[in-house]
């Protein structure tokens, strides 16, 4: 297997997957949060009967629809790319990974697509109450869709609830609860959807700020901002809370990711938070330790400790892990040889099978299975710079949004918002910042866990579909052109609809 690894294939496959995922995440966060904002506006309309609320509902719904279409388009590719580009991965973990995807299809996608159609086309076909229910169910459906794929992603970061079956050469699930309530999955879900809420709130405030600057639709804009600012402030606080909880989880599940994100090469007690550069000079003492373990003096391992091992703190070095991984791979080979050699090997095959089933072998050897494919320990270090700076960008912007929402609310309450033109301009420019923060977050999560497709069990080099790199290169550029074209089309349509304004909702006729 090792001799056939083609790094250019792996890199193009990763590039294609990253391209699809990043484009997908351009469209998804707005879907997650805007639906709730719309549902709230429609609730106000149903309760008060004020046409202004209906106008708001319909306008934001139009923008939602434009955005949603491309989200769907990029989503289908993402689902199938697990098969087309990561087929070995799909078999190795399909028994666990496939289930959330299927549940997502049955429970969430149909809910979303049915009720979205009522939301858009049902205004004159169902009662006000049913329509409102459909809007809320669309919001719930969209977020449920996110739940299952993030459970799957959380599992890749922290595989749990399964054991390896040498007979089928794959991992098999034994506890659905462990998969669903995997701490990484819970954090990931809450953190991702709340980031979507924040982005949506920034989006609504930014677009409304543009109207205020132009002196158009001022009542509409102020009301929209009021809804979005409250929603945004609550979401951004929750976002910080879930981010903090995610950090403490990865310190135990993915210490290498944490070390890379902190730029921490040599672990210590009371590790400081680097401000400017990884391993650099300017640091705030104790903060990294605090983030990791809620204690300013706690020990946090660095990249070198994780590679070389640190018996004092119970950290196994990479060499040892690689050795143990190779043992697991060798035993699997032994099993396959024994099984193939007719009757004589049966007893031996059974014995090895029992060995794989034992807790000790799973804990001491199979747990490091993926390391067995790695020759150079340096390969275990993710790109430190990219992870480090993305982490800072994400966290920094996260705190900025809290302040931004608080100020928006303050100015709104003091009725000075319309006058503060600089702040309104800042609000418009905050929209791209929200997108950047989300992308940076995914870079930390996914680049930070390289080289793993499944943490500790399967490196991307083994997970990849064996195909010539040129094919993947071709589809990469094909998708790049298509997605970029669709993005440009989407932005132009979106800008035009915003210019046309809420009175011309829909804008086609």
């Amino acid at each position: 297997m090792l001799e056939t690894i083609d790094l250019s294939l792996v890199n193009w496959s990763r590039a294609q997957f990253a391209l699809t995922a990043m484009y997908h995440w351009v469209f998804v966060p707005l879907t997650l949060g805007l639906t709730f904002i719309i549902a709230f506006m429609e609730t106000m309309y149903v309760r008060t009967g004020e046409p202004e609320w209906k106008k708001m509902t319909k306008f934001w719904m139009t923008l939602f629809g434009i955005n949603f279409a491309v989200g769907v388009a990029t989503g289908i590719i993402l689902e199938f790319e697990f098969g087309t580009n990561w087929s070995n991965y799909s078999w190795f973990v399909g028994d666990i990974f496939g289930a959330p995807l299927a549940i997502e299809g049955v429970l969430a996608f149909f809910m979303e697509s049915t009720f979205i159609a009522i939301m858009f086309f049902g205004w004159n076909k169902v009662s006000k109450g049913v329509h409102l229910l459909a809007t809320w169910l669309t919001a719930v459906g969209a977020n449920l869709s996110a739940l299952w794929i993030l459970v799957a992603n959380g599992w890749m970061q922290n595989p749990t609830g399964m054991h390896f079956n040498p007979e089928t050469a794959r991992n098999e699930m034994h506890s659905f609860g462990e998969v669903l309530f995997n701490p990484v999955a819970v954090d990931k879900f809450l953190h991702s959807i709340s980031s979507g809420f924040v982005l949506s709130a920034v989006f609504v405030i930014g677009v409304s700020a543009w109207y205020l600057l132009k002196g158009r639709e001022t009542v509409f804009a102020r009301k929209s901002i009021a809804v979005a600012a409250v929603f945004g402030l609550l979401s951004s606080l929750f976002l910080a809370f879930t981010g903090d909880s995610s950090t403490r989880t990865i310190v135990t599940t993915q210490p290498m990711k944490f070390a890379a994100a902190e730029g921490l090469y040599d672990g210590k007690e009371g590790a400081g938070l680097e401000l400017i550069a990884p391993g650099g000079a300017i640091e705030i003492p104790g903060v990294a330790s605090f983030l990791a373990k809620w204690s300013f003096s706690a020990y946090v391992p660095g990249i070198n400790d994780l590679l070389n091992g640190d018996p004092e703190h119970g950290i196994m070095g990479a060499k040892e892990k690689i050795e143990r991984g190779k043992v697991a791979i060798r035993r699997l080979k032994d099993f396959q040889v024994a099984r193939a050699s007719a009757a004589a090997g049966k007893a031996e095959a059974d014995a090895i099978k029992a060995e794989f089933a034992s807790k000790e072998f799973q804990q001491e050897y199979f747990r490091y299975y993926g390391y067995g494919f790695i020759d150079d320990p340096e390969f275990l270090v993710p790109p430190v710079g990219l992870t480090f700076y993305s982490f800072r960008l994400m966290v920094g912007l996260g705190f900025y949004f809290i302040v931004f929402f608080a100020l928006t609310l303050l100015f709104l309450l003091k009725k000075t918002l319309t006058r503060r033109r600089k702040f309104l301009k800042l609000a418009i420019w905050s929209i791209p910042l929200a997108y950047i923060a989300g992308q940076a977050g995914w870079i930390v999560a996914e680049v930070g866990r390289q080289p793993w497709a499944i943490q500790d069990l399967l490196p991307t080099t083994v997970a990849v579909t064996k195909i010539d790199a040129a094919s993947v290169q071709f589809t990469f550029f094909l998708f790049l052109v298509i997605f970029t074209t669709l993005l440009i089309a989407e932005l132009r349509i979106l800008f035009r609809q915003i210019k046309l304004g809420p009175k011309n909702e829909g804008g086609t006729k």
């Binding site: 319909k58 719904m61 139009t62 279409a69 491309v70 769907v72 388009a73 989503g75 289908i76 590719i77 689902e79 199938f80 098969g83 087309t84 990561w86 087929s87 070995n88 991965y89 799909s90 078999w91 399909g94 028994d95 666990i96 496939g98 289930a99 995807l101 299927a102 549940i103 997502e104 299809g105 049955v106 996608f109 149909f110 697509s113 049915t114 979205i116 159609a117 009522i118 086309f121 049902g122 076909k125 169902v126 089928t168 794959r170 098999e172 699930m173 034994h174 064996k466 195909i467 094919s471 589809t475 074209t485 089309a489 132009r492 349509i493 035009r496 829909g506 804008g507 086609t508 006729k509």
Partner: protein, 387 residues
């Protein structure tokens, strides 16, 4: 509650088959898209047709996604083998579905970059190539594909066309050194589905659109497309009954069995009954549209389509048959048993599957509400969210 492992494997094959069957029925959206310029001549008519389809396209799309997801979850070895192996087929299918997803929403919006005609071309491409390619891909369930699995069950595909050989390669068979005739069989299935989708699309217009001209043209299209559909469908079915199939023997090995699918049909009378009822339904739907001027044809032809496709999937997987055979390495062929998820996973998902009737119920309710009255040009003009 769900019984033996073997039962679960069959249960999930039924679910996957049902999703496949529902998907083919829902390709009336794709078929309708290919009729865009034939049943609608003016811009107003085209807007009407696009909007009538636009209220349903997401169901087709979602069913396809769920079909893929269910296959991944229940038969991951198929997912990893076919998607990773037949790379070009599946990526082409995806490509033609990506362009559909934006076409409805963007077509009539101002500043849409590419212009309405381009988005209409996207709809045509999706309608034509989406259906044909999926048909060809399903054809490989009977005619086999060119792969081998290694000891880790990782797929090694044997052609550079990565799946497209099922439609494009007419060279000699790598193993038997015969000309590969079965590509014609795969293509026939693709074309049968294509023409069936067009028939269903026309029947859907007749049922849903309140416009005399569009209805008149749709009736003509039902007839025009019925002829090629019947030719390709009959060719596919007759040949299917005659070819050598891929049977699982008592020791779990795979061997060729002459007339395997004919045997399956005879040995599973219930499937034969479903199949016959389905064919009758499709013909009945076409017949009453043509002879009695009915607008209910879609219900018969639609139900018939579901039954036919469902029974064809059962022919492929039930009765000790390899549902995804390898033409290159017989023993690598996928059977329900070999490709299935573990018993635990299948059981867990089976509990989730109990929600399916509930999902179908609310979709049914939605459908009734949204199509209570036929859709008119006026309604589209008044609709702020019209496509």
């Amino acid at each position: 509650m769900f019984g033996s492992y073997e039962f679960l494997q069959h249960y999930w094959w039924i679910i996957v088959s049902l999703l496949g069957a529902l998907f083919v029925f829902l390709t009336f959206v794709q078929g309708g898209q290919t009729l865009l310029y034939q049943v609608a001549r003016t811009d107003t008519e085209r807007d009407l047709v696009v909007n009538v389809l636009g209220r349903k396209w997401e169901f087709t799309f979602t069913t396809l996604v769920t079909f893929g997801g269910a296959f991944f979850a229940a038969f991951p070895l198929f997912y990893s083998t076919s998607f990773g192996g037949a790379y070009w087929v599946w990526l082409s299918v995806l490509l033609f579905f990506v362009i559909q997803a934006v076409a409805y929403e963007f077509r009539r919006k101002p500043a849409n970059l590419l212009g309405a005609r381009t988005y209409e071309m996207f709809l045509l491409l999706n309608g034509a190539l989406g259906t044909i390619l999926i048909g060809v891909a399903v054809g490989t369930f009977f005619n086999g594909a060119m792969f081998k699995l290694d000891e880790m069950n990782h797929v090694i595909w044997q052609t550079n066309l990565r799946g497209l050989e099922a439609a494009l390669d007419f060279k000699r068979d790598a193993v038997n050194h015969e000309l590969i005739p079965d590509n014609i069989h795969n293509i026939a299935l693709g074309l049968a589905i294509f023409f069936l989708a067009r028939i269903l699309g026309a029947l859907y217009f007749i049922n849903t659109v309140d416009d005399d001209e569009i209805e008149r043209r749709s009736r003509k299209q039902v007839l025009y497309n019925a002829v090629p559909f019947l030719i390709f469908f009959l060719f596919f079915v007759i040949r299917l009954m005659l070819i050598e199939g891929f049977a699982v023997n008592d020791s779990g090995g795979i061997e060729n069995e002459p007339y395997k699918y004919w045997h399956n049909l005879v040995q599973m009378p219930l499937v034969a009954l479903l199949f016959t009822a389905g064919v009758t339904g499709v013909l009945w739907g076409i017949g009453i549209t043509w002879l009695r001027n009915s607008d209910k044809g879609i219900w018969f032809a639609g139900t018939g389509t579901i039954l036919v496709v469902f029974s064809v999937f059962l022919l492929a997987g039930f009765n000790n048959t390899a549902f995804y055979p390898s033409r290159f390495d017989l023993q690598s062929s996928l059977t329900l048993q070999k490709a299935a998820s573990s018993k635990f996973t299948l059981t867990t998902m089976s509990y989730v599957s109990l929600a399916i009737p509930f999902v179908l119920a609310y979709i049914w309710w939605f459908w009734k509400v949204m199509t209570r009255d036929k859709i008119t040009t006026e309604e589209i003009e008044d609709d702020p969210h019209a496509y």
